[in-house]
């Protein structure tokens, strides 16, 4: 991506959509000049945020955050960055090939079912009820959406924040389903409506 230029101010003001914002995040992670410009823009917008009416959250929010932090170790924070770089590079190279070769809706084989452990995690925050079921081995992923109202796509959120579309939610009666036989342990998935992220899930493989 080229330098973000005027997108810095748009980002700070909330005038970018989710995908544009992800691109800015990815760029400023490696560009000090743009990071400084974005910082200046965020400082300016923070003056406006401060000038709006101010409220205090309930004590329950602090307790909830503490519980969430204690309940789930920050696995991704402990993984060396070099691993992320290698994983991202492998994903970029391997995913489209694997995806196209095996097809987006091909169900897992019996062997995959027999050898895999399934996990279910609710995608959140979410405008509709959605879950992702995935193999512990990272062999495949199935996203299910109850009463999908829009054309939704599933995206892999790379560790550097960039997003790659890997599947389309197909409607079957009241359910929307996307099956993705992708052999890669994806730590974060997003459900995307057009250019807006409507749900996200962090996945664990332990």
């Amino acid at each position: 991506m080229n330098h973000i230029d005027d997108s810095a101010e748009l980002y700070a003001l909330g005038a970018l959509d989710d995908l544009e914002r992800k691109r800015v995040d990815a760029h400023v992670a490696t560009c000090a000049r743009c990071a400084r410009r974005l910082d200046e823009a965020e400082r300016a917008v923070t003056h406006a945020i401060e000038a709006d009416p101010q409220y205090e959250p309930s004590a329950a929010l602090g307790a909830r955050l503490t519980a969430s932090l204690d309940a789930r170790p920050t696995r991704r924070a402990t993984v060396p960055r070099t691993w992320f770089a290698v994983a991202a590079a492998l994903a970029i190279l391997a995913l489209p090939i694997g995806y196209l070769a095996r097809g987006p809706m091909r169900p897992p084989s019996d062997a995959q079912f027999a050898n895999a452990t399934f996990k279910m995690m609710k995608l959140q925050p979410v405008a509709m009820s959605a879950h992702v079921t995935y193999a512990k081995t990272g062999d495949f992923y199935a996203v299910m959406v109850k009463h999908p109202t829009r054309a939704l796509q599933v995206a892999y959120v790379h560790p550097d924040g960039t997003m790659e579309t890997i599947g389309k939610v197909e409607t079957h009666g009241d359910m929307g389903v996307a099956i993705m036989p992708i052999d890669h342990k994806m730590l974060e998935l997003a459900l995307v409506d057009g250019s807006t992220v409507v749900a996200e899930a962090n996945l664990a493989f332990n």
């Binding site: 995040d25 200046e40 965020e42 917008v45 409220y55 602090g62 932090l69 992320f84 409506d193 992220v197």
Partner: protein
């Protein structure tokens, strides 16, 4: 407690290094600002708290989300939470619905305008902007419109709108610097 508006390189380095005390300290200092950023967009206590919770956990669990090169932690988190709140509005409800909800569902307890002088300076700075910059700025900040939507609404080329919004934000930033005359 230290002035929550002051930069704190020690806290920022520790937060970037994912030292747990830094998360607790940042929440202690900035929770009011972050919650207000979310509440003033969502206008519902539960939604605002969900938004702050999810945004902070997302930042904390992504080691590349915040580094010291990224800038001021306080502004970074405030914009991060506000952007997350705007995404929720765009994803879950129409703007008309959001505006109606803002009128009929005030849930949180109003605390205060923390700094009336700063608020007055901001208003003066916005008033001093040329109309062509002020209008898209307000549509973005209070209307939660994207730059594409604003360009369409104002029937103005996208590049022009981007440039005008960027100039407006930079002018506000300069006007709000300590000692600056509006």
């Amino acid at each position: 407690m230290p002035d929550p508006r002051a930069d704190d390189p020690t806290l920022e380095r520790a937060f970037a290094a994912r030292e747990r005390w830094a998360f607790d300290e940042a929440y202690e200092r900035f929770s009011g600002l972050l919650y207000s950023a979310a509440y003033n967009v969502l206008h519902a206590r539960e939604d605002a708290e969900d938004c702050v919770h999810d945004a902070l956990l997302r930042v904390w669990r992504n080691p590349s989300a915040y580094t010291t090169d990224r800038g001021t932690l306080r502004s970074f988190l405030a914009v991060c939470v506000r952007n997350a709140a705007i995404s929720r509005v765009r994803a879950t409800q129409t703007r008309a619905g959001a505006q109606r909800r803002a009128v009929v569902e005030p849930e949180a307890e109003f605390v205060e305008f923390p700094d009336v002088i700063e608020q007055s300076r901001l208003r003066a700075a916005i008033a001093a902007l040329p109309d062509e910059q002020r209008e898209p700025l307000l549509l973005a900040y209070y209307g939660y419109r994207t730059h594409v939507e604003i360009a369409d609404a104002l029937a103005t080329p996208l590049g022009t709108i981007k440039s005008r919004i960027a100039q407006a934000v930079r002018r506000l930033g300069h006007a709000m610097q300590p000692g600056a005359a509006v």
